[in-house]
Structure formats: structure tokens, C-alpha cells
């Protein structure tokens, strides 16, 4: 993942120093965290509210609250954790007001298995629940033109990510695109570790299946 986006070199300084610069009015430091963290914040906000403009307002209001609250922040958690906590409160309040239909308090219970069960041998035989000959994953052969493939793959994954159900999309984005830890994501979204893993698993399984379809043209249901 692009570590520079979440923790740009300027911000590899210890949190205490970052905080001190921000309190001193260092615009460069502020601009860097806005650039680094806003994409992830937008994605997270979007999962609480009904529209993209609403999500942008939530992120904007969050940063304004951060500006005002920096002096009083005691530094008992990481700055980013504190910022996401503010975002969580504002997003949840706005979401409740908009009567958004899928709150984070319930995990959308999809769902057929993301991977076609017919790719495994039926229970009961000696090879029960192993890959079938046809179902087993075949290696993905890279094309001779590696650069073309890389950008095609990324475009494909971007589209597939945007098509995931909202909660899966958010967890995969926060974990695998933005590089937050499992604990950070659970705290920020107010979900359990188990729920987070379920969403991450479903999202990743679908994305891998999309790539497989690209390479080998398997049934797009993920089989």
C-alpha cells in the first residue's frame, strides 16, 4: 500500500512533535495531515451518511473541530486515533439525522459464500472439501508488459472496490488501502474485531475473485 499517503515522511516524527508543531500553528504540518488522512476519513464518513456531499461536510466539520480542540487534546492516544474519534461522533450524529438505513451497529448479513462451493469436492469422499481439478486456482501469468498490466489491475480493483457492499468497501479501504491497523479500524467504526474480520474477509475474497476473473475468465460470481 502507499505508506506515504497515511504516514508521509514529514509525519514519521513522533506524535508529540507533530502535536507540538500543530499547536505552534505550523501550516505545513496541518496541510500534511489533511492531505494524508482525508481520503480515508471521507470513505469512513461516507459509510455513515447518505451522500458524498454529506460525507465531505462531515470531514470538514471534523477538521474544524480538530483545529479548535488541539490545545485541549491531552495526547493520551495517537493524534490520528483522536481525529477518527471526532469523525466517528460527527458522522454518527449526521447519519442518525439522515436516517441512514445500514448503521454500523448491524453487520449486513449478506450472503452466499463469496467463492462458488462447487469448486470444492462434496463432503463424504476421500477428497471431501478439497479443491476440484477444475476449481483449483491456476497461477496468474503476468503479461510481458508489466507496467500496462499493473495499471489495468489497479483500475480493475478500484472499480471492484467501489462495487463492494458499503461496509466491506469501508473496511477493505481502511485496512488494505489506507493501512490502518485492525484495532484502529474497530475503534473508528465502533465494531468488534470479529465483525471487522468478517467484512474484511468477504471484501477481500470478492476482490481476489475479480482478479482471477480478469486473468482466467472464471465465472464472475467468484467461482
Amino acid at each position: 500500500m502507499d505508506h506515504d499517503l497515511v504516514d508521509p515522511p514529514l509525519l514519521s516524527m513522533p506524535d508529540a512533535e507533530l502535536l507540538s508543531r500543530l499547536r505552534d500553528g505550523d501550516e505545513g504540518a496541518f496541510e500534511h495531515i489533511v492531505t494524508a488522512w482525508s481520503p480515508m476519513m471521507l470513505r469512513m464518513a461516507r459509510s455513515f451518511v447518505s451522500t458524498q456531499p454529506s460525507a465531505e461536510e462531515v470531514v470538514q466539520d471534523t477538521w474544524l473541530a480538530v483545529i479548535r480542540g488541539l490545545d485541549a487534546f491531552e495526547g493520551r492516544s495517537l493524534l490520528r486515533t483522536w481525529v477518527l474519534g471526532i469523525l466517528h461522533n460527527i458522522a454518527r450524529t449526521r447519519g442518525a439525522r439522515e436516517a441512514r438505513s445500514v448503521p454500523w451497529s448491524s453487520i449486513a448479513g449478506d450472503e452466499e459464500s463469496a467463492l462458488d462451493p462447487s469448486r470444492f469436492e462434496a463432503p463424504g469422499g476421500p477428497w471431501a472439501r478439497h479443491w476440484t481439478d477444475d476449481g483449483a486456482p491456476r497461477p496468474w501469468q503476468p503479461s510481458p508488459d508489466a507496467l500496462v498490466i499493473a495499471s489495468e489491475i489497479r483500475r480493475l480493483l478500484a472499480t471492484a472496490l467501489a462495487r463492494l457492499p458499503e461496509q466491506q468497501r469501508t473496511v477493505v479501504s481502511m485496512r488494505d488501502v489506507s493501512g490502518l491497523s485492525s484495532d484502529e479500524v474497530c475503534d473508528a467504526l465502533g465494531i468488534t474485531a470479529a465483525n471487522q474480520r468478517v467484512l474484511l474477509h468477504r471484501g477481500r475474497t470478492k476482490l481476489r475473485a475479480e482478479l482471477e476473473h480478469y486473468y482466467h475468465g472464471h465465472d464472475s460470481r467468484g467461482g
Binding site: 501550516e27 496541518f30 489533511v34 486456482p137 488494505d176 488501502v177 474480520r197 476482490l207
Partner: protein
């Protein structure tokens, strides 16, 4: 596995696929992890599946996320500047 079931003697391909995220997160218990490790040792198809999942995770890390509009970003920097330039009441 639910309470009351005996632990399986082995875990196989369909289990690996279902448990892969837990496995990669390090959240499986020791027995499950051992069983999955041992299955992977003997199963090139599952090793391929794991490698593909890891390749996808690496690639998705490069997907660009939507950003704030430049105008919004600029107005936030200005708000920060204004806040730090104007005299603020000292805390009681």
C-alpha cells in the same frame, strides 16, 4: 467449530479459504494455525490461493481514494491559519 464439536484431525482446502483472513491476521488459535500450516505444506493449490490473495492485497494498496476538493482543503488551511493568528482566550 462450535462448542461440543471435537477438533478436526485436519483442515482442508475449503477451510483454508474460509479461514484465510483470520489466518493472515494471526487471529486463529494455535491448533487451527498449526493445522492450516500443515495443510499448506502439502497443498500447492492452496499455496497458490494464498499467494493470489496476498498479491491482490498488495495491489489494492495502490488504489487511489477520493480526496477533498482543493477548495475545501484550502479553506481548512485558512481556518487553521486564522485560528492561530487571532488572539485566543486562555483556558480558565
Amino acid at each position: 467449530m462450535t462448542v461440543g464439536e471435537r477438533s478436526p484431525v485436519e483442515l482442508v482446502c475449503q477451510d483454508l479459504v474460509a479461514l484465510l483472513t483470520d489466518y493472515l491476521e494471526g487471529s486463529c488459535d494455535a491448533t487451527t494455525t498449526q493445522l492450516l500450516d500443515s495443510h499448506l505444506d502439502g497443498c500447492p493449490d492452496c499455496r497458490e490461493y494464498v499467494a493470489q490473495m496476498k498479491a491482490m492485497i498488495e495491489q489494492v494498496g495502490y488504489v487511489p481514494l477520493e480526496t477533498l476538493s482543493p477548495g475545501t482543503q484550502q479553506s481548512l488551511v485558512e481556518a487553521f491559519r486564522d485560528f492561530h493568528q487571532s488572539p485566543r482566550p486562555t483556558a480558565p
